[in-house]
């Protein structure tokens, strides 16, 4: 006792207090750091999402471009007419007189040197399993077997109803997987972790098997193989990416042509058929509805069950001004009778017509239709192929017929023109009926819609199709059909899944690391007894496991920022214009606040620019920015060719995905080459529509400079490479076999 001890106590107390305070300081500092990390993570996610959806909007705009083209463009020369002809007719018209059969695979020989997997039909479970293993070892299936499998797949699909009904016994399990988007690693992982499909282990794959990832073909092969082997237990729903028009833009077409140089085209055509025969939804025990996108307030399951789903070839199409005018007329007529319903988009999506959109080559004898067109093309134009002209005329008349029918006008049939298509063996030959607009909308809604938090139902302007549906819409549907809940996919979620609408809607997304390595987990859901959902998450990249959260977030963030900088660069001129508006005194400087406002005004991505600013602007003092030098810095990072006029480059860069899509359409024989002339014409058409101010000389110079070997042809891939656009099969600096790919 005594003062000694109390001093000790005093010191002890002081030390304890110090330790307490020190710990508190460190914790406070650490928590702030983590919060900022979380903020960065959320911003990164926003960047990816907004760029992704903006891309989808662009796709819609592209179709607007085609529509504009057919409505307004007057071809001024033979070659331009040719060009348009090729753009619009190739897809519809069979080549030459050799009509391609779906089952025309027998003539394809498999060389003795082929070491990949071989298939024989009927398929056995072992074949399917062997296929998975072969793909895991990065083998490629020969085109003959691909086509054979697709042929058998179609035969099977045709028998299926639009809505598949599945029932589970008490101890049978059913696993539902979401978007895979060509990410084979995730599929293999699911089978590894959850078990291969079997009579006791049912699977439903909910659409979007293809596009973006590098192994879409392989995924389809595996899924189709298991479906043939276990037809009662293995089910597939169609997604919005099971669509040849969407595939043109998002990489699947490119992948097929790259892997199958000789037979790719045939494979693509066959796939077009297979996709439209995919079922639209799956219903488990009459209680759980599984479909790809969502629902709308007008979703009618009975209608969906009855319609001819294969008529919906693509949910995107060209809509002609004529049709919209006719539609307006009809609409006006009906307005008296009906009160208008909730805003559901009609402009972009109309019933798919097998025929051409109004084409400059319209050779219809119906003179009335020339009224809207300023070009009158003599029938004796370059067309050597009478067959072509006859079919064009026939299909155009079909379309007119449909328009009339829709508009409610009296039917006028020209019987001699509507003779059956005896020369075509394509399966829809002889079918004169198209899906009605209502049927069309029903399908688009279930493939494209997204849930929202607010009540109601409104047009999904972000995607350009389908709608946003609220919890009341879900509830209404569930009650109407006596359902328990809805499972859908279509949207990437950080955890791979997300419940909403009071746990009545489950989003399940199975492509992990979708935007970038480390961006998100994938997940699948198992429905157990009483259909209780049990979620399993995963992330298939070993690299991420060894990284700390901080490092993972940094990687993904860097990728997002790179994408964002590209976008900023692509809008350099607009940005400069906008910056100048804030710089009335022409000092060359603007405040950072003005910078944020200007950037949002131009890009319209809805991103938190002030939060992102430190990552995008590193050369600012006193809260002001020298905007010209900032733009120059941006350009330096992006430009790789100095001899091309930079504003043209910027414009091309900004529209590169559209251009690529157009190229692939022009390159009708999928050779990978287009002629200089075609390139110039493409550009001219495109730029006039997009109001881009570029002189002919400029385009000519550009085209010539891209023709690297001066043979009058442009290799599409070389062209895209010039802008570093070609997707790289392995991300930079990743040694291990990572199929990470950069997304559009």
């Amino acid at each position: 006792m005594g003062s000694g001890t109390s001093t000790q106590h005093h010191f002890a107390f002081q030390n304890a207090e110090k330790a307490f305070k020190a710990a508190a300081l460190i914790q406070r500092w650490y928590r702030r750091y983590m919060a900022r990390l979380e903020m960065r993570r959320r911003c990164t996610w926003s960047i990816f999402q907004s760029i992704e959806y903006a891309g989808q909007q662009d796709q819609v705009k592209l179709h607007d471009f085609f529509t504009y083209l057919v409505d307004h463009f007057t071809p001024s020369s033979h070659s331009e007419r040719d060009f348009l002809n090729r753009m619009f007719t190739e897809e519809r018209v069979p080549q030459d007189s050799q009509l391609e059969e779906c089952g025309d695979y027998e003539s394809i020989e498999v060389p003795a040197s082929y070491t990949g997997p071989r298939l024989s039909f009927p398929l056995l479970p072992d074949h399917a399993t062997a296929l998975v293993e072969a793909f895991r070892l990065k083998q490629q299936l020969h085109a003959r077997y691909v086509l054979n499998l697709l042929y058998e797949t179609k035969k099977h699909l045709v028998q299926l109803p639009n809505i598949i009904r599945v029932s589970t016994c008490y101890n049978e399990e059913i696993t539902v997987c979401g978007d895979l988007h060509g990410q084979l690693d995730d599929l293999i992982f699911i089978f590894y972790k959850n078990g291969l499909p079997s009579p006791e282990r049912a699977y439903v794959f909910n659409g979007d098997f293809v596009d973006r990832g590098q192994y879409s073909v392989e995924i389809l092969m595996v899924l189709f193989a298991f479906m043939l082997v276990y037809p009662k237990e293995f089910h597939l729903n169609r997604g919005n990416h099971e669509d040849h028009m969407v595939n043109l833009r998002y990489g699947f077409t490119k992948e097929v042509m790259h892997k199958y140089k000789i037979h790719g085209k045939k494979i693509l055509r066959t796939l077009r058929d297979v996709f439209r025969w995919l079922p639209l939804a799956t219903l488990v025990d009459e209680k759980v509805l599984i479909l790809h996108g969502g629902v709308s307030d007008t979703t009618d399951l009975e209608l969906l069950a009855k319609l001819d789903r294969h008529k919906v070839v693509s949910t995107l199409r060209y809509k002609t001004r004529k049709e919209s005018e006719k539609e307006k007329q009809a609409e006006e007529k009906r307005k008296d009778n009906q009160t208008s319903t909730a805003e559901i988009p009609t402009p972009w999506f109309l019933p798919q017509s097998r025929s051409l959109p109004s084409s400059p080559l319209r050779l219809s004898s119906d003179k009335a239709h020339k009224a809207g067109r300023s070009s009158s093309i003599p029938i004796s134009v370059h067309l050597d192929r009478k067959e072509l002209s006859r079919q064009v005329r026939r299909s155009v008349d079909l379309e007119l017929e449909q328009c009339r029918l829709q508009a409610g006008f009296a039917e006028v049939r020209e019987k001699k023109e509507l003779s059956p298509f005896t020369s075509e063996t394509d399966s829809e030959a002889g079918e004169l009926l198209e899906p009605t607009q209502e049927e069309w909308r029903q399908v688009v809604d279930i493939l494209w819609s997204d849930p929202m938090v607010q009540e109601g139902c409104k047009a999904n302007t972000v995607r350009g199709g389908g709608c946003y549906f609220g919890p009341d819409v879900t509830e209404q549907l569930l009650q109407k059909y006596n359902l328990q809940f809805l499972i859908r996919s279509h949207e990437c979620k950080p955890e791979g899944y997300e419940f909403c609408h009071n746990r009545k809607v489950l989003t399940i997304f199975s492509a992990s690391n979708y935007y970038e390595i480390g961006s998100n987990r994938g997940a699948y859901v198992k429905l157990g007894p009483a259909l209780m959902p049990h979620i399993v998450q995963y992330q298939t990249n070993k690299a991420t496991h060894t990284l700390t959260m901080r490092q993972r977030i940094s990687r993904v963030e860097e990728s997002a920022l790179r994408a964002l900088r590209e976008k900023l660069f692509a809008h350099s001129s607009d940005l400069l214009g906008e910056f100048k508006k804030h710089d009335a005194d022409k000092t060359g400087l603007i405040s950072l606040s003005d910078w944020a406002a200007a950037v949002e005004c131009v890009l319209r991505l809805g991103l938190p620019w002030r939060v992102l600013r430190p990552q995008l602007v590193n050369s600012s003092t006193d809260n002001v920015l020298d905007y010209k030098s900032w733009l120059e810095d941006l350009a330096k990072k992006q430009l790789s060719r100095e001899n091309i006029q930079s504003s043209l480059l910027e414009t091309l860069y900004r529209n590169r995905y559209d251009l690529e899509t157009i190229f692939r359409i022009i390159d009708s024989d999928h050779s990978g080459f287009i002629s200089l002339d075609e390139f110039r014409q493409t550009w001219k058409l495109f730029s006039s529509h997009m109001n881009v101010d570029v002189t002919d000389d400029c385009i000519y110079d550009l085209a010539r400079s891209i023709d690297f070997n001066k043979d009058g042809q442009i290799d599409i891939n070389e062209f895209l490479e010039a802008f570093r656009l070609v997707e790289q099969s392995c991300s930079e600096g990743d040694g291990a076999d990572c199929p990470a790919s950069h997304k559009h």
Binding site: A19, L25, Q27, R31, R32, M34, R36, S593, V611
Partner: protein, 162 residues
């Protein structure tokens, strides 16, 4: 006088924009509310460094009378603006953090063992949750020696943050 007022208005306007942006990042439903559990992240990302206790007080100020679990933007904005104007909850410099670590390392070894760090972080101050502790360890620990060289750790965090 008038100038000063004008300047303050400009500053306030800029604060408002910043606060709105940060708020919207977490406003998932686009209805001007955020989950109360995200308020800490928002406040900290705006440059403040409150303690947990200070954060709770702040939340109390912006919560509804009958707490709903959500914070409305209309209530959050004026309170947060004041915080920024008054420069409340300023972060301390790295030297202070370094000294704080040194307090916990009286023997001046230059490191803390894993057990020591766990003990301090989970028993002293405003204790970490298990998740927070694991996350800190994953980044801070030197896997070979199983200790935390705190000086290097601080440097790494600071660089990363900027």
């Amino acid at each position: 006088m008038a100038d000063e007022k004008e300047r303050e208005e400009i500053i306030v306007a800029e604060f408002h924009k910043k606060i709105k942006e940060a708020f919207e990042v977490f406003d998932h439903e686009s209805n001007n509310t955020v989950d109360v559990r995200e308020i800490g992240t928002i406040v900290r990302s705006l440059g403040c460094c409150p303690s947990e206790g200070e954060l709770h007080d702040l939340i109390a100020e912006v919560e509804e009378e009958e707490p709903t679990g959500y914070i409305r933007y209309e209530k959050f904005l004026p309170v947060m603006t004041k915080v920024l104007l008054e420069k409340r909850y300023r972060p301390v410099s790295e030297d202070v953090i370094l000294r704080a670590f040194e307090v916990l390392d009286p023997a001046k070894r230059g490191f803390l063992t894993k057990e020591e760090l766990i003990k301090y972080m989970t028993e002293e101050g405003e204790p970490f949750s298990q998740e927070e502790m694991e996350e800190m360890l994953s980044a801070a620990i030197d896997p070979e020696s199983n200790v935390i060289h705190y000086k290097d750790y601080i440097t790494m965090m600071v660089v990363d943050d900027n």
